[in-house]
C-alpha cells in the first residue's frame, strides 16, 4: 500500500507517496523525474545508481525508499551547490572523461563523496572508492586524472 515517505532531496524537504519497499532509484527516476541516476544492474554491482545518503555514496537500487526517511539524499542533479558546476564535474569536463556517459553520474557521485571525505586521496584510496563503479567504455584512467585534478593535483 502507498505510504508517505519524507526525506530531503537535493536540499529540499519532500514527501512522496509510494509503496515503501520501492527502491530509491525508481522513486528518483519515475516518481520524481530525476533521470540522471541510472539503472544498470539492480543488484549493487555496477554503481550507475550511486547517490549520496547523508553524504555517503550508496547504491540507490538497493535502498527501499522507506529506509531514507528523514535522511538527506543528493543526486547528480543536486550535486552542484550553486549555478557553477561542482569541482568534480568541472574536472570531469576538463579531462573529457565521459564517452557513452551512462555510468558517469554514478562515477561522479562516487568521486565527489570520496573527495568530501578525503580531500587529497592516495592512489589506493581512489581505487578503493572507485572500483565499485563499472564503466564499459573503459574511462578508468581518465577518472583517475579527473579525481586528481579536482583534488587540486596536477592530474598526472
Amino acid at each position: 500500500m502507498p505510504e508517505p515517505v519524507s526525506f530531503t532531496l537535493n536540499g529540499t524537504s519532500i514527501t512522496v507517496e509510494t509503496s515503501p519497499e520501492t527502491p530509491l532509484l525508481w522513486v528518483l527516476r519515475e516518481s520524481l523525474g530525476l533521470t540522471g541516476t541510472k539503472y544498470g544492474c539492480g543488484v549493487g554491482s555496477c554503481g550507475a545508481c550511486t547517490v549520496h545518503l547523508d553524504g555517503a555514496p550508496i547504491r540507490s537500487c538497493l535502498y527501499p525508499v522507506a529506509s531514507v526517511a528523514g535522511k538527506a539524499v543528493v543526486t547528480i542533479e543536486g550535486l552542484a551547490p550553486s549555478d557553477d558546476l561542482h569541482p568534480v564535474q568541472q574536472a570531469w569536463i576538463a579531462e573529457s572523461v565521459a564517452q557513452c556517459g551512462y555510468c558517469q553520474s554514478g562515477q561522479i557521485m562516487a568521486a565527489a563523496a570520496l573527495l568530501a571525505a578525503t580531500p587529497d586521496p592516495s592512489d589506493e584510496q581512489i581505487a578503493e572508492a572507485m572500483s565499485g563503479n563499472l564503466c564499459r567504455c573503459g574511462t578508468y584512467p581518465a577518472v583517475r586524472r579527473a579525481i586528481k585534478l579536482a583534488a587540486g593535483g596536477t592530474g598526472a
Partner: protein, 716 residues
C-alpha cells in the same frame, strides 16, 4: 499512484543544467527576434543556416561515446568556416546521403573515414555559395572576400554579413559538386582538441538515453523470456502478476525476429511494479524444451568435431598442403575463445507510441536504417508515418545494431494502445544477447630456413552472423558459402607475407544466438594470429617485436607504428624481474595499432600493470577523442581477455546478473599511454582496432613472466 512534491529549486537546477547541454548561445536578444521573422534555409542534406546565424549540422551517425557528435560536425564546420560556438547538431535520417553502402548505421569503425570527404565537401560547397551571394550583394570580386566564424567579410570596404543574412540569396545558387577543399595545413578545427559537445550533459545527468524518455500516459513493460534458448511459454498464471499494485497487464510477447525468443511481458505503471510482476510470474510459467545445445561441454565437443573434418574453403594462396611438407620447423597450436556478452551499461530500452496513422520511437540505436523497415513490417504503416527520436546510446558495442527491443516496444504499444517504454532487466539483457561467437582454431605454420612463416594452414569453427544476416555472406574459392566477418583478418588482406596459406571455416550450430561485438571476427582472429606470431618468433629465436618489424618491412606505416610502440614502451630496456612485456599488432581497416602490455602474476592471478598503444589512423581529427577511443578499446579488450565468458548451461545462459559476469574494474585497469604517428593521410577507424590487440599482448606478457602459452580465453 504516486504523489510527490518537487521543489522549485530542483526543477530550476535541472533546467539550468539542461541549458548547458544544448550548446547554443544567443548573445544578442535582437537576433532571437530576427529568428522568428524568417525561415531557416536548408542547403542539401547536411547544413541548415538559421536567420539568427546559428548553423545546424545534420548528424547521421549514433553517439555512443565514440565522439561522432563532435568529430563529424567538425568536418563540416572546418570547411564552412562556421562559428563552432554557435553550431547546433541535429540527429538526421531518411536521406540517401546518410547511408553507408546504402544503409544508415553506425558500426564497423567507419563514421569518420566514410564522412571525411562528403562532410567536408558539404561545408565547402555552402561556403562557396555564401561567398558568391556576398560578392553579388556588394558587387565585388568573390576572391576579395574571406570567411570567419559564420560571417563573410570584405576587408577593403569593411562590409560584413552573417551567413544567416546571406542564406536566402545563397540558396538560389547551385551548390558546386566539387568545391575546393582546404589544405590540411590551413585547418583550424580539425586536428585540435575541440571539447566534446556531450561532455557537460554527460557530467550533469542531463543527457537523455532511451531509458530516460518519458511520454505522457506511458506504460512501462519488462519482458520475461525463457532461460533456455528456443523455449516458448505453454502456460502461466497471470493473476500473481496482476495482484502486484501497479501491474496493468500480462501479454504474450512475440519473437522480435527470426531465430529470436518469444516470451511474456508484464506491463505496469512503472519499472518497479513491472519488475515485481515479472518476478511473481516467472515461477508459474511452463516452458517448452529449449533448442540449443545443453552446455559448454556440448558446444566445445561440436567445435572439436568440426575441426577434425575438412571444412569449407574460405581462402587459399599458393600450395599450402604441399608446402607444409617442405618445412622442417613447424608450429602447431589450437586456440579457443568464449561467447561474450555486450553488457551495454544502459540495459536494452525503447519507447514506442503506435497510433492508427503514425508511429513514434524513442531509443538509442546503431541501426537507424534497419528500424524503418522493421516498423513498416510490424505496423503496416508507411515509412513517412514513422518518426525516430534518436537518443544517446548507453554504450553501443554492437548490441544496438540489433532492433529486438524496438520490436518489443512496437508490439506492446500496439497491444496496449498506449505509449510503452520497454526496459529489459539486466537478467534479460545477459541471457538474450547476440553473443560474440565462441570459436576454436587449429593452425599449423611451417617456417622457412630463415624463420619466416612459409605456409599457414588454419581451420576455424564457430557460430556465424550470416545465419541471420544472409546479405553479409560471400562465396569461397571453391563455391562454399563463407562468412567474411568470421574469417576477417585471416583471408586478404593478411597482415604478414606468407607465400602459402589456406583458411577453412566451419559454421557451428549450437543454437546460441550470435552478433557483432566491438571488433567482430577480429576479436577472435587477431588473438589467434598475433599469439601465433609470438609463438613463431620464439621458434625463430627472434624478439617478437623485431620479428614483426622484419615481416612488415615493406609497409613503412606498420614499421613506424611498431617502432613508436618500441620507443614509448621502453621495449629495449628489460623490465624488472617478475614483470613481462608482450606485443601485438593489427592493421584494421587501414588503422595500424601496436599494443605493448606489461603484466605480472600475483600468486596465480594475472595483474595488468601498463599499456602502451601506438596508432597510425591517418590524420587525427580530434586528438582527445582519438585517445579516448584507443584507451577505452584497450580496456574493453583486456576485460574480455582476463574475465569475460558467457557460460551455457541447461540450454541457456547461466549468468543472471553483473555479479556473475565480471567486467574489468577500476583497480584492475592499467595506466595507458596512447601515441599517434603524425600523418596527413585520410583518417581511418578508431573504435575497434585497439580492442583486438590487447588480449594477445596480455597473454604474451604473461608468457614472458612464466613461459606458459595461454591459448584459451578468458584467463581467470
Amino acid at each position: 499512484m504516486t504523489a510527490f512534491t518537487l521543489s522549485r529549486r530542483t526543477l530550476l537546477g535541472a533546467t539550468i543544467a539542461g541549458a548547458f547541454s544544448v550548446g547554443i548561445r544567443f548573445s544578442e536578444p535582437e537576433l532571437i527576434r530576427e529568428a522568428t521573422a524568417a525561415e531557416p534555409v536548408p542547403f542539401g542534406a547536411w547544413i541548415t543556416v538559421h536567420p539568427d546565424n546559428t548553423i545546424e549540422i545534420a548528424l547521421h551517425k549514433s553517439e555512443m561515446g565514440q565522439g561522432v557528435s563532435t568529430a563529424l560536425p567538425m568536418l563540416v564546420a572546418e570547411e564552412l568556416d562556421a562559428d563552432w560556438d554557435t553550431i547546433t547538431v541535429r540527429d538526421a535520417y531518411g536521406r540517401p546521403e546518410y547511408g553507408t553502402f546504402g544503409m544508415q548505421f553506425t558500426f564497423g569503425s567507419m563514421s569518420v573515414s566514410t564522412s571525411w570527404l562528403p562532410l567536408r565537401t558539404a561545408g565547402a560547397a555552402v561556403r562557396a555559395v555564401l561567398l558568391e551571394a556576398a560578392a553579388a550583394r556588394w558587387e565585388v570580386p568573390v576572391d576579395t572576400l574571406r570567411t570567419e566564424r559564420s560571417m563573410v567579410l570584405h576587408d577593403a570596404t569593411g562590409n560584413a554579413a552573417t551567413y544567416g543574412e546571406l542564406a536566402a540569396d545563397a540558396a538560389l545558387l547551385p551548390l558546386p559538386a566539387q568545391p575546393a577543399l582546404k589544405d590540411p595545413a590551413d585547418f583550424t578545427l580539425i586536428g585540435t582538441n575541440v571539447p566534446r559537445r556531450d561532455s557537460v550533459a554527460k557530467s550533469t545527468g542531463t543527457a537523455s538515453y532511451g531509458i530516460d524518455v518519458v511520454v505522457p500516459d506511458m506504460l512501462v513493460a519488462v519482458p520475461l523470456r525463457p532461460a533456455a534458448f528456443g523455449a516458448v511459454p505453454e502456460s502461466w498464471d497471470e493473476s500473481v502478476a496482476l495482484a502486484i499494485p501497479g501491474v496493468v497487464a500480462v501479454k504474450p510477447l512475440p519473437a522480435p525476429g527470426a531465430g529470436m525468443d518469444s516470451g511474456l511481458a508484464v506491463i505496469a505503471t512503472g519499472f518497479w511494479a513491472a519488475s515485481q510482476g515479472r518476478d511473481a510470474l516467472a515461477p508459474t510459467v511452463v516452458w517448452t524444451a529449449g533448442t540449443a545445445l545443453a552446455d559448454d561441454a556440448a558446444i566445445t565437443a561440436q567445435l572439436e568435431a568440426l575441426l577434425a573434418e575438412p571444412a569449407p574453403l574460405a581462402f587459399e594462396v599458393g600450395n599450402p598442403e604441399a608446402a607444409i611438407q617442405r618445412t622442417k620447423t613447424r608450429v602447431e597450436a589450437t586456440y579457443t575463445t568464449p561467447f561474450l556478452a555486450h553488457v551495454t551499461m544502459e540495459p536494452m530500452s525503447a519507447v514506442a507510441h503506435v497510433r492508427a496513422d503514425a508511429v513514434e520511437i524513442w531509443t538509442g540505436t546503431q541501426a537507424q536504417g534497419f528500424i524503418f523497415p522493421l516498423v513498416e513490417q510490424l505496423t503496416g504503416l508507411p515509412r513517412t508515418a514513422i518518426v525516430l527520436h534518436q537518443q544517446y546510446l548507453g554504450t553501443g558495442m554492437g548490441r544496438r545494431v540489433e532492433t529486438d527491443v524496438v520490436a518489443d516496444a512496437i508490439n506492446l504499444s500496439s497491444m496496449m494502445q498506449a505509449p510503452v517504454k520497454v526496459i529489459w532487466p539486466r537478467e534479460e539483457d545477459l541471457r538474450h544477447d547476440f553473443y560474440r561467437p565462441a570459436t576454436a582454431h587449429a593452425i599449423t605454420v611451417g617456417l622457412d630456413p630463415s624463420g619466416r612463416p612459409f605456409t599457414w594452414n588454419h581451420r576455424l569453427a564457430g557460430e556465424s552472423n550470416i545465419t541471420r544476416y544472409a546479405f553479409f555472406s560471400a562465396t569461397g574459392p571453391t563455391g562454399d558459402t563463407i562468412d567474411p566477418m568470421m574469417v576477417s583478418g585471416l583471408t586478404d588482406p593478411f597482415r604478414y607475407p606468407v607465400p602459402h596459406r589456406r583458411i577453412e571455416s566451419a559454421v557451428a550450430s549450437s543454437g546460441v544466438p550470435v552478433g557483432f561485438w566491438r571488433g567482430v571476427g577480429e576479436t577472435n582472429n587477431a588473438f589467434v594470429v598475433e599469439s601465433m606470431i609470438n609463438e613463431l618468433a620464439e621458434a625463430a629465436g627472434t624478439d617478437p617485436l623485431q620479428y614483426r618489424l622484419d615481416l612488415l618491412a615493406d609497409d613503412p606505416r606498420s614499421v613506424a607504428v611498431l617502432s613508436l610502440a618500441r620507443d614509448e614502451s621502453g621495449w629495449d630496456t628489460p623490465p624488472p624481474a617478475g614483470i613481462g612485456r608482450g606485443v601485438a599488432f593489427t592493421d584494421f581497416g587501414g588503422s595500424r595499432v601496436a599494443t605493448v602490455i606489461e603484466a605480472t602474476i600475483v600468486d596465480t592471478a594475472p595483474r595488468i600493470l601498463k599499456a602502451t598503444v601506438a596508432v597510425d589512423c591517418g590524420l587525427v581529427v580530434n586528438p582527445v577523442i582519438a585517445q579516448q577511443q584507443i584507451s577505452g578499446a584497450t580496456i574493453t579488450g583486456l576485460s574480455a581477455a582476463l574475465l569475460e565468458q558467457v557460460v551455457i548451461a541447461e540450454g541457456g545462459v547461466q549468468q543472471r546478473s553483473l555479479a556473475e559476469y565480471p567486467l574489468l574494474r577500476y583497480d584492475q585497469a592499467p595506466e595507458i599511454t596512447v601515441v599517434f604517428v603524425p600523418s596527413a593521410e585520410p583518417p581511418t577507424g578508431l573504435g575497434e582496432p585497439a580492442t583486438v590487440t590487447a588480449p594477445p599482448a596480455l597473454t604474451a606478457a604473461l608468457w614472458a613472466v612464466d613461459g606458459l602459452r595461454r591459448r584459451s580465453l578468458p584467463l581467470r
